[in-house]
């Protein structure tokens, strides 16, 4: 008899249709459990301070806050002025859904129309961000597919997969002079992570606004005081919340101070909202952290 080990039989063991679902369930149940316990025992080991960008980023939120005013500290001021009539308009200039090979691409691309015509740079930026996102998503999917097939997956097994790349937007806030637009980009496949980009633009001067422009020269002190107070309040209210560097959690350094590079946008009230990415100042399970800085 041929010296067979049964490898051929082994390789032909039928894979149940529900295997993928059971695997996903297992992954999701651990994720839920960790969220429920909200405890950082396991999470801490994978917590990396200041890990901002990642190849696996699955969603990018973009927030453009467009100010049509030249004065400094305009944001808070303007939010108090009653709306007479919007100068800006947001239009959907491209809306398509394409299913090609294994990837579904859903695009809803906005453009901003202004009397001043200054939005061209912003529109071009939205367009290039959307294009880049779709290109990245397709490349990642292709890479994943290759890895899947290289590790023993077959074309037939692969065929059931559906991966989606999506670009969408919503208008957060619009007054006479300020427009806040959120561009949402998503990749849906294996795992999810988020990355946020904010652009606060002064269109008349054609430049990005800084925290100092909006909050004044003492912005560091104003933000730090507010953030520390909010962190302490959150920890006092919910014991499952833990910020490294606060309370008993001194093993890692967490939030210390805002910098000129700290991300922010303006919310519906025209207030500054400071944002820290997932892992930046808190364990991953807590997600990105935002702090509204009240005037």
């Amino acid at each position: 008899m041929k010296q067979t080990f049964g490898k051929e039989t082994y390789d032909h063991i039928a894979i149940p249709a529900e295997l993928a679902q059971r695997v996903d369930e297992a992954i999701a149940s651990v994720r839920r459990e960790n969220l429920r316990r909200g405890q950082s025992r396991w999470d801490r080991s994978r917590w990396k301070p200041l890990r901002v960008c990642g190849a696996a980023a699955a969603a990018v939120l973009l927030c453009f806050t467009l100010a049509l005013n030249t004065s400094m500290a305009f944001a808070v001021e303007m939010s108090k002025i009653p709306v007479i009539g919007p100068l800006s308009r947001v239009l959907t200039i491209r809306e398509i859904t394409v299913k090609e090979n294994d990837v579904t691409t859903e695009l809803k691309i906005p453009a901003i129309e202004l009397d001043s015509g200054l939005s061209d740079t912003v529109n071009a930026r939205i367009q290039s961000i959307a294009d880049q996102w779709i290109a990245d998503a397709e490349a990642e999917f292709a890479e994943y597919r290759e890895a899947y097939l290289a590790t023993g997956g077959t074309e037939e097994e692969w065929a059931g997969r559906d991966m989606t790349a999506r670009v969408d937007y919503q208008v957060c806030y619009e007054t006479e002079d300020i427009l806040s637009l959120e561009l949402i980009t998503e990749k849906c496949w294996v795992s999810a992570a988020q990355e946020h980009h904010f652009y606060n633009l002064d269109l008349k001067e054609d430049r990005e606004l800084t925290l100092a422009d909006v909050l004044g020269p003492d912005y560091t002190q104003i933000c730090n005081n507010s953030i520390v107070a909010q962190i302490e309040e959150r920890m006092a209210q919910d014991e499952s919340i833990s910020y490294p560097g606060f309370g008993d959690d001194t093993q890692y350094e967490g939030f210390t101070t805002v910098t000129p590079e700290t991300k922010f946008y303006l919310n519906a009230q025209g207030h500054v909202v400071v944002m820290f990415e997932k892992y930046e100042i808190a364990p991953g399970y807590m997600g990105p952290q935002t702090f509204e800085i009240l005037p």
């Binding site: 008899m1 490898k7 039989t9 059971r22 695997v23 651990v30 396991w42 994978r46 890990r51 590790t151």
Partner: protein
């Protein structure tokens, strides 16, 4: 740099079918094998911090998977390695099977730890070094187990020839 946790999730997702085949070769039941894979994934992700070296994700996960399969067998008291006699009987009774299927049936009924060595060496095509890592035995012990398993298989091949 993707997150270490996400790397583990991705490794698991992309190798799930291999895990199922390994699990099935121990528990020999579809439902039990699905349970083994599912609980191995839960245990692995719950104790992801025990993976010190991300390069070692394969042997780390297989160790959890094999242990999960074995404890499922213990719980179900299903571990019934066949006596020599029964093996011979099986060969005749299952004559309708081809030789490869017979060999597979025999391997899945080998006593531990010989079964694990054969599954990992010949089905999952691992090195003896990797098997040593997974089973927590030293290399010489793994070799001894492999030879004793091969001896049993040799006996089977010879008997099948007659």
């Amino acid at each position: 740099m993707p997150d270490a946790y996400d790397d583990v999730v991705q490794y698991i997702v992309s190798h799930q079918e291999q895990f199922y085949r390994v699990a099935y070769s121990y528990v020999r039941s579809r439902e039990d094998a699905l349970d083994v894979v599912q609980s191995a994934i839960c245990k692995a992700l719950e104790h992801q911090e025990s993976l010190r070296n991300p390069q070692a994700v394969k042997s780390w996960f297989y160790r959890i998977l094999v242990n999960e399969a074995l404890s499922m067998l213990r719980r179900a008291k299903k571990e019934t390695p066949l006596e020599e006699q029964m093996m011979e009987q099986m060969i005749y009774e299952e004559a309708a099977y081809d030789q490869d299927q017979q060999a597979y049936a025999l391997v899945t009924r080998l006593p531990e730890p010989q079964r694990t060595v054969i599954i990992l060496r010949y089905y999952e095509e691992m090195t003896l070094g990797e098997i040593a890592e997974i089973t927590g035995a030293n290399l010489n012990t793994v070799k001894t187990r492999l030879y004793s398993a091969l001896e049993k298989l040799n006996k089977f091949w010879k008997e099948a020839e007659q």
